[in-house]
Subunit: 361 residues, 2 copies
Amino acid sequence: MLDPHFFILERLHEFASSVFQHFGVPVQDAEQAADILVLSDLRGIDSHGIARLRSYVSMLSVGRINPQPNITIVRESLSTATVDADNGLGLVVGPKANSMAMDKADHVGTGWVAVKNTNHFGIAGWYVLEALKRDMIGWAMTNTTRIVTPLWGAERMLGTNPIAIAFPGFEEPPIVIDMATPAAAFGKIEMAIRTDNSIPAGWAIDRNGHPTTDPKTMTDGGAILPLGTDRDHGGHKGYCLGAMVDLLCGPLSGANWGPFTPPFTLEHAEPSRRVGQGIGHFFGAMKIEAFIDSTEFKHQIDDWIRTFRATKPAPGTTGPLIPGDPERLAEAERRQTGIPLVPAVVEDLRFVAKQTGVPFE
Amino acid sequence: MLDPHFFILERLHEFASSVFQHFGVPVQDAEQAADILVLSDLRGIDSHGIARLRSYVSMLSVGRINPQPNITIVRESLSTATVDADNGLGLVVGPKANSMAMDKADHVGTGWVAVKNTNHFGIAGWYVLEALKRDMIGWAMTNTTRIVTPLWGAERMLGTNPIAIAFPGFEEPPIVIDMATPAAAFGKIEMAIRTDNSIPAGWAIDRNGHPTTDPKTMTDGGAILPLGTDRDHGGHKGYCLGAMVDLLCGPLSGANWGPFTPPFTLEHAEPSRRVGQGIGHFFGAMKIEAFIDSTEFKHQIDDWIRTFRATKPAPGTTGPLIPGDPERLAEAERRQTGIPLVPAVVEDLRFVAKQTGVPFE
């Protein structure tokens, strides 16, 4: 430990891996799962990193996630597969399905894999960074527990349903898009509650569907609004994006969708009915060489990045970022400082340590 | 003509086709181009229908669009192709490239075609409706002339860069997503100018990058904001979406991208440099049977549609729509009433009639 609030990355990795192994996850799978968790912390996406370990543990400890899934391909073509993840950890089955997509892309140019009967897979960005290692454009999506209302709705019907895609540069770092589809992240609403602040107009509604700036009325049966917020500002587009991810991950794979996606923690109620199995992911890989010379492509990406960095800045800003910049800068910093964890997360990890007997500090 | 302002669909189709033929477009291609134009009018997307005929004509009349392109495949794999459209009409080469994607999907499960050296292709929705006829999920994107600023930018760097995708129902009509990636459509800003109204905050900036509600300051060197508008409301996500479409259509195909996409009309200045050929499209087709039984899938889509229609409505609304509803309702109405055209468009068509000798009224 570098400081009371900063933790050494490798130490968090070892802890997460050992905890997964405690619940019967095979060593290699546990290491893989820990890789994804700590990459999230490293890249500054604190909500999807080690902070989630306690909820994974709660699900594993009551048998709600299968630590040793028998992953099967239920349908396949040269460029596609549908995978039954046997209720495994998304952090374990996600990488395998993503690899299948890349292997198919190696053979026929692209590969697309829909996964059902799975669970939370960590940050979507991890999967598309893998594709870059193989000179491919990676795609990753997942549907998630309901928390977002459609435009003109007054209840939670969709998850935060992220979409990620990445493009490699030659000299420049890659362009990495990794975005959820609501107007705001749930983590920001939780943070406003903890700090006793209001939230900006346009993020959320209360349980009756009225716009609210009180974060507690959102968590108390309200919902997050889709990207675009209202009709005038394109809220129907944010709803469309959330729907697109839900439809590719749910009905296409045979997973649950929309309001019927199962929760990620034991605290949340089960959905009123089941329309599939588990949640769903959707992975894609496109071999760049199947479209264009990959060196030529990367030089164009470099040019794109430099061109967009040189955009005239809006007053009071330093100008546009390139998608992936914030995560890359966080990673550079945290490789030096270690991973900062807030006290609540440290408490959670101590709880997990006590429960499993895996030493934490 | 049913009324001074309403036009018979078939008549507009015949006019458009004859005008294209006047400029040397082969009959079958001219009919295809007219199909796409009038479907846009029929579905209520007035900005992309017959209203654009005059700008196509202006480009054809000075040889800026090739009426008889020699479309070639420059690179190919079992699930991909890259097409050089030889500077043809997007309305002609788009459908051919889209068909290639579907043919590949027939063989290997999915097909993905990047097109360079092309021009405006009409509504993205037309292409994905074609895929539905073959039991496929269609994807269509195109990059377009710059008019949108990245978040924290103060100039036009990206086009409206639409993305479309559609999913077939069994008894229910399909879910058809067809959305541009800025906060608002340029057509709405033009309409505000014509009616001497202001525009909502959050749509646009002026030439210095300051937020504006005066539509004239947007058209006078300003820019449209990305979906999400500002950092607090996810403007970085709208920027990411516009960038994603630009990167798939531009660098991947070898077309121009970002601020270097050529304009669609003669009135706009040429970009400062060329980084590829023409604009670019990106088409995808996924055979549903390559992932899941297509009847089972369509029953799930029906269930999804009915579930989302039954969402508790927000106060003052009738509840969420299903993506594609507005266009479907417009189509049902306009099949009865004919196509309403505003006087400015009628004037444009009369001008085209005079220029080409093709009778209009």
